[in-house]
Amino acid sequence: MNKAQTMVEKILSNKIKKDVYAGDMIISPIDLAFAHDGTLPLAIEKMEEMGTTKVFNKDRVLVICDHASPSPSEKVSNVHIMMRRFARENRLNLYENGDGICHQIVLEKFSAPYKVIVGADSHTCTHGGLGAFSTGMGSTDIAAAMIYGKTWFKIPEAYKIEVNGALKHNVFSKDLFLYIAGKIGADGATYMSLEFLGSTIKDMSIESRLTMTNMAIEVGAKCGIMEGDEKTREFLRRYGREKEFKEVSPDKDAVYRDELYIVSEDVEPMIAYPHKVDNVAPVSDFAGLDIDQVCIGSCTNGRLEDLRIAAKILKGKKSKCRLVVYPASRDVLLKAIKDGLIDIFVEAGAAVCPPGCGFCIGRTIALGDGEVVLSTQNRNFKGRMGNNNAEIYLCSPATAAVSALNGKITYPEGD
């Protein structure tokens, strides 16, 4: 007998051609496995232990130099050499210095509804914003996935997050997710799939949606997922992949273990304060706090829409603190150049850096002792940006830009 299914149950049932439900253990084929310079070296080592460094299918494995890229040191350069050798031997697509962050590249080149994607990076959950089932794993799991083209999953229970209504003009999907993180807590959705529904999500651009699925892991979720709709189709069309579109939606009577209903009008511009992502408060609570640096970018908020929002605020003005901008990919950078956004950032005093993870893990740019930073990234853990004695606050691109203009955390008034 067929039972109603959640989005993730549908996708995985489709993949293994058998109806499966939360709690079932399955061995599933995967459509893509990827790893980056922080995780691939260990995966290669694990493949060697398994007795082969040959991948199952050269078109379904990607490797990306993004975390410490362009290379800041001899050791990292040698890691990149090892990655290039692995890619050459397997005839894989390798993304180089300046190509961008792994998730953004996978979104542009690969993700689509109903795909099953595993990545050796915790924010692999991002791809659910395009209706894919995607999850992060460690290097051993990814090594096995690269060799066998399969992995095991326990079908996660689902947490329905339904958001309805119109967000205020100065509230963005980042604020909405931080608000949700405050409600659910850092472990509130452990091993569950966050299934986002409601009119607010439907009305959002794909880029805004991706900001939210990107952060699913911050509440412990295995994945985040959203419906595949006309906006998904349009996104795929932009990247010449419209044919890969399929509608995704849950059955009406799908079973959710938990449910959270949010009224968009209740959400304020939010901030996450050190050192946990679920330490959230309205921006107004921290207004006036001095900051040393503002960072705009990352796989959470480094897309064209984010840069547009920030540039609109910065246009013709000067930042009062250090300002760093990392577009998420080469494609984003090129579009930002064409749109004149990069001129605005440079004139505002920003250091515009080549696409990559950059500040987010403090590998190519690190903080000093006692510094306070406001960033659009997804994590504010102690030491995250390369210094245990720095304080990281998280916010939307709008709050980041307006705060840069004051050198202090500032409430975004909006237009």
Partner: protein, 166 residues
């Protein structure tokens, strides 16, 4: 065989705290990397761990949240940790532990019930932990069958080798 609790950690210990991301590019040898384990929390962790036989660590909720870096359970293993007991684990970390053959056990309220230095005896078959110091017995959630097979094989690699794949 009993083992001593080396340390009891609070909730939400993340993988950056276990091993800072800044080292992972510079060192692929886990035994060398392990020197930095828990560096931002406890500078003596590595030496303390190495001075004991098969020590155990205990934590409250959501242990190992954050990055997917497998170096986190790897360095704990390289420190000689024989088992991690927590009220709950972040799932990528949990899966990584078994993949490298390090048992991770979920046990309700464990962080409140035990203290540093307690000697524990763990029985995976019956799902019980005997606290030899306090004289208490705790039940833990059985490890799911498939994961148990991976653990019994010594990790995912030997498991896949024995099975010739998945």
């Amino acid at each position: 065989m009993s083992s001593e609790i080396l340390r009891v950690f609070p909730s939400d210990i993340n993988t950056d705290e276990i091993i800072s991301g800044k080292y992972k590019y510079d060192e692929l040898d886990m035994n060398k990397l392990a020197v930095h384990t828990f560096e931002s929390i406890d500078k003596n962790f590595y030496n303390d761990a190495r001075s004991k036989k098969d020590p155990i660590i205990v934590a409250a909720k959501n242990f190992g949240c954050g990055s997917s870096r497998e170096q986190a359970p790897q360095v704990l293993k390289a420190c000689g940790i024989s088992c991690i007991i927590a009220e709950s684990f972040a799932r990528i970390f949990y899966r990584n532990c078994f993949n490298i053959g390090l048992p991770a056990i979920e046990c309700n309220d464990i962080a409140e019930k035990v203290s540093k230095g307690d000697k524990l005896e763990i029985d995976f078959e019956s799902g019980t932990i005997k606290n030899l110091t306090k004289g208490d017995i705790y039940k833990f959630k059985p490890i799911p069958e498939y994961i148990r097979k991976i653990l019994d094989a010594g990790g995912l690699i030997p498991f896949l080798k024995n099975n010739d794949g998945f």
